[in-house]
Amino acid sequence: MLGFMRFVATRAAMALVTLVIVSLVVFSLMELVPGDCAERYLAFKNTQGSGISVADIEAERVRLGLDRPFLERWTSWLFNAFRGDFGDSCILRLNISQLLGDKFWLSLSICLASLVLAYAIALPVGIIAAASHNAVLNNVLRFVSYLGLAMPNFLLALIIMLISTVYFGDTLTGLFSDQYRDAPWSWAKFLDMLGHAWLPVFILGWSATAFALQTVRALMSDEIGKLYVTAASARGVHGRKLLWRYPARHALGPIINSLGFDLNRIFNELPIVALILTLTEAGSLLIEALARSNDQQLAGAIIFMLTASIVTLNFATDVLLAVLDPRVRKSIIR
C-alpha cells in the first residue's frame, strides 16, 4: 500500500512538472503578442477622445504590475491558474473565469462523450475484426479507418451540414434551442442540450473511433497469435469467453495508456468543429479569442485548461492501470 501511495505521489509530481512546463510555453506565447494590456487599455481610451502619452502607458503598466520581471509574473500567473483564476481579459475587460463559466465544462463533457463513443464502437468491432479471418470485413474496416483518418472532422461536419440543409432544410447547428440559451440549468435545458449535442459528439468521435479501431485491432491481432491463447483454447475455452478473458485483458493496458492522447486529438478538432456547428462553448471562444479579437489572456487560459485536463486524464489512466494490471501493480509494490 505504501508503495502504491509512493507511485501515485511520483505520478502526481510528474503531472505537475508537465503542467509547469506547459504553463511556461503558454505564458511565453501570451507575452510574445505585440502590445500588452496597458497599451490596449489606453488605446481604448484614445478612441474615446482623451489624449494619451508614453508616461500614461508606463503608469498603467505599473498599476497592472506589468513592469515586474517575466519570471515573477509567470509564477504569479501559474499560482493563480492553479486556483482557477486567470485574471482579466484585457479586450473584454471581464474576469476570465466568469467569462468561461460552465462553457469549459460543457466542452470537456462533449469531448469525453465522444471518447466514450469511440471506444464503445472500437472495442467490440476491433476485437471481432482481429479474431475473424474474413478478408472483406477486414478490408472494409481498414478503408473506413483510413477514411476516418483522412477526412478531418471539420470536413465531415461540413458535409453533414450540406446534406442536412439540402434534404432536411435544417442546419443542425448550435447547442441549445433559443428559449434555453440563457436560461439557468434545468432538466428541460439538459434534455434540450442532449438533443443538439449528439451531432458534435458524433463528429468529434468519428476520427477518434477510426484511430481507436486501428489500435484495438493491431493490439488484439498481436495478442491472439500468442501461446497462452492457444493454450487456453486447447483447454477448451472458446468463443467470446476466450477473447474477452485472455487476449482482450492483455490488450487493455496499452489502450488505457493511450486515452490521454486520444483526448488530445479530440481537443485538436474541437475549436474548428465548434466554429462550423456554431456551438457556444470554449472551443468557439478560443477561435473567437485568437482569430477575431486577438485576446491572448482568454486563449492562454483555454489552452492551459485543455492541456490540464489531458494531464489529469493521463495521471488518472496511470493510476487506473496500476490498479487494473497485476503486472504493473507488482512492479510498483516491491
Binding site: L29, Y146, G300
Partner: protein
C-alpha cells in the same frame, strides 16, 4: 537422373532466389511494396495528383487569382463538356454558352441563362495567360480552353474565379506546405532526437520531459495561438512560409521520439563501438553510422506525417489564421462554405474536398504500404 533434366522453371526460380539474396535494401522494399494492391493503387493516385499539381498552370485554363476571373459568371454552376445535344452529336466536345441579362422580365436582376441553341467548342493547346512552368520556363499554352468566352469545369466562386484552376493550384500549395513543414520538423527531430538518443542518461530524460510536455498541448489550438501573432500586413507569400515553418516547429516531437527510440537501440551495437574506438566524433557516428541504419524507417515516418501537415494547414486556413487569399489552398477555398447561401445553392464549392480526401488517403495508404514493406518481419506476423 532427375538432377540431369534441368527444368526451365526451376532455373528461373534459382535466378529469382539469387536476385533476392543479392538485392539491395531498396530493391527488397520495392518488391514487397509491389505486392500490396491497395498501396500500389494509392501510389498511382498520388503520382497523378502530384503531376496535376506540378503542371497546375498548364492544366488550368485560367489564372487562379482574381486576374483570371470571369466577371460575367459569378457563383456559376459547373459546365460539363458535352458531345450530344438537341441538334445532334459532334466528336469534339462543346458546352452551351451562358448569357446574362437584366430586364423588366427578370425584375431588373442579373439572371444567367444557358443558351441551348449555341455551341462553343473546346480547343486544345490554346494560348492563354502567361505563366512559368516549374517557375522557370515562360509559357502561355494551356491544355484546353474554349473558342470564345470561358469554360468552368467545376464552376466558379463568388468572385468568378475558376474552381477547377484553383483546385489544381491548391493541390500544389498543399504539397509545398507539407514538404516544407515535414522538412523542418525532420531536421529538428533529427537534432533533438539524435542528441537525446545518442547521449542517453540525464540529457535524454530532460529532453524527453520537455518533448512530452510539448506533446500534451493540443497541436491545433497551439498552431492557432502562434499563427494569430502573424501581423495582418505581411504579404501572402511571407505568410505562406511562416505558416509552413510553424507547422514544422510544432510537428517535431512525434518524429523526435521515433528517432530517439531507434538510436537508443542502435547505439549499443558493436559497429558503433568500433567506430568510436577508431576515434570518430559523436557527430560523425550519428551521421555516418547510426542514421543510415534506419533511413528507410525515417522515410516512412516522413510519408506518414505528411498528411497531418496538410490537414493542419487546411484547418488553420479554414478558420482564417493560415494562408490568405491570393495563395490557393483547400482551407482558403472552403472559408466561405459554411454560409447557408453556399450550402443551399452553390454545392460545387465542395468539389475540391474530394481531391483532398483522395490526396490524404493516397498518402496514408502509401505510407502504410511503405511501413509494411520496410519492415523485414512484416511477412511473419501476417
Amino acid at each position: 537422373m532427375t538432377s540431369e533434366t534441368t527444368n526451365p522453371a526451376t532455373e528461373t526460380d534459382q535466378k529469382a532466389k539469387e536476385a533476392y539474396f543479392t538485392a539491395s535494401q531498396g530493391q527488397l522494399i520495392w518488391a514487397r511494396f509491389k505486392k500490396q494492391r491497395s498501396a500500389m493503387i494509392a501510389a498511382w493516385v498520388l503520382i497523378a495528383l502530384l503531376l496535376s499539381g506540378l503542371f497546375a498552370s498548364f492544366l488550368s485554363p485560367y489564372d487562379p487569382t482574381v486576374a483570371g476571373r470571369d466577371k460575367d459568371y459569378l457563383n456559376g454552376a459547373p459546365q460539363l463538356p458535352q458531345f450530344c445535344d438537341g441538334n445532334g452529336c459532334s466528336l469534339r466536345p462543346f458546352i452551351h454558352p451562358v448569357e446574362r441579362e437584366r430586364s423588366l422580365a427578370t425584375n431588373f436582376r442579373w439572371v444567367t441563362k444557358v443558351n441551348e441553341d449555341k455551341r462553343v467548342y473546346f480547343t486544345f493547346l490554346p494560348k492563354g495567360w502567361d505563366y512559368k512552368l516549374f517557375g522557370l520556363i515562360p509559357m502561355d499554352r494551356h491544355l484546353f480552353g474554349v473558342e470564345e468566352g470561358y469554360v468552368h469545369l467545376f464552376g466558379t466562386d463568388a468572385t468568378g474565379k475558376d474552381i477547377f484552376s484553383r483546385t489544381l493550384h491548391a493541390i500544389w500549395t498543399s504539397m509545398q506546405v507539407g514538404t516544407i513543414g515535414v522538412m523542418i520538423a525532420f531536421v529538428l527531430a533529427l537534432i533533438i532526437g539524435g542528441i537525446s538518443g545518442y547521449y542517453g542518461g540525464w540529457i535524454d530524460s530532460f529532453i524527453q520531459m520537455i518533448t512530452d510536455a510539448v506533446r500534451t498541448v493540443p497541436a491545433i489550438p497551439l498552431f492557432m495561438a502562434i499563427a494569430a501573432f502573424i501581423p495582418q500586413e505581411w504579404s501572402a507569400e511571407t505568410r505562406f512560409f511562416i505558416i509552413s515553418m510553424i507547422l514544422g516547429l510544432i510537428g517535431w516531437p512525434t518524429l523526435a521520439r521515433r528517432v530517439r527510440t531507434h538510436l537508443l537501440t542502435e547505439r549499443n551495437q558493436e559497429y558503433v563501438l568500433a567506430a568510436q574506438l577508431c576515434g570518430a566524433s559523436p557527430g560523425h557516428v550519428i551521421r555516418r553510422h547510426l542514421l543510415p541504419s534506419f533511413t528507410s524507417y525515417i522515410i516512412v515516418d516522413l510519408v506518414i506525417s505528411f498528411p497531418y501537415m496538410v490537414l493542419s494547414e487546411t484547418a488553420l486556413s479554414f478558420i482564417g489564421l493560415g494562408l490568405k487569399d491570393p495563395v490557393n489552398s483547400l482551407g482558403v477555398m472552403l472559408q466561405s462554405v459554411t454560409s447557408a447561401d453556399v450550402l443551399l445553392n452553390y454545392q460545387w464549392y465542395f468539389i475540391p474536398v474530394i481531391f483532398f480526401i483522395a490526396l490524404v488517403m493516397a498518402f496514408v495508404f502509401v505510407g502504410d504500404g511503405l511501413r509494411d514493406a520496410a519492415d523485414p518481419y512484416s511477412d511473419s506476423h501476417k
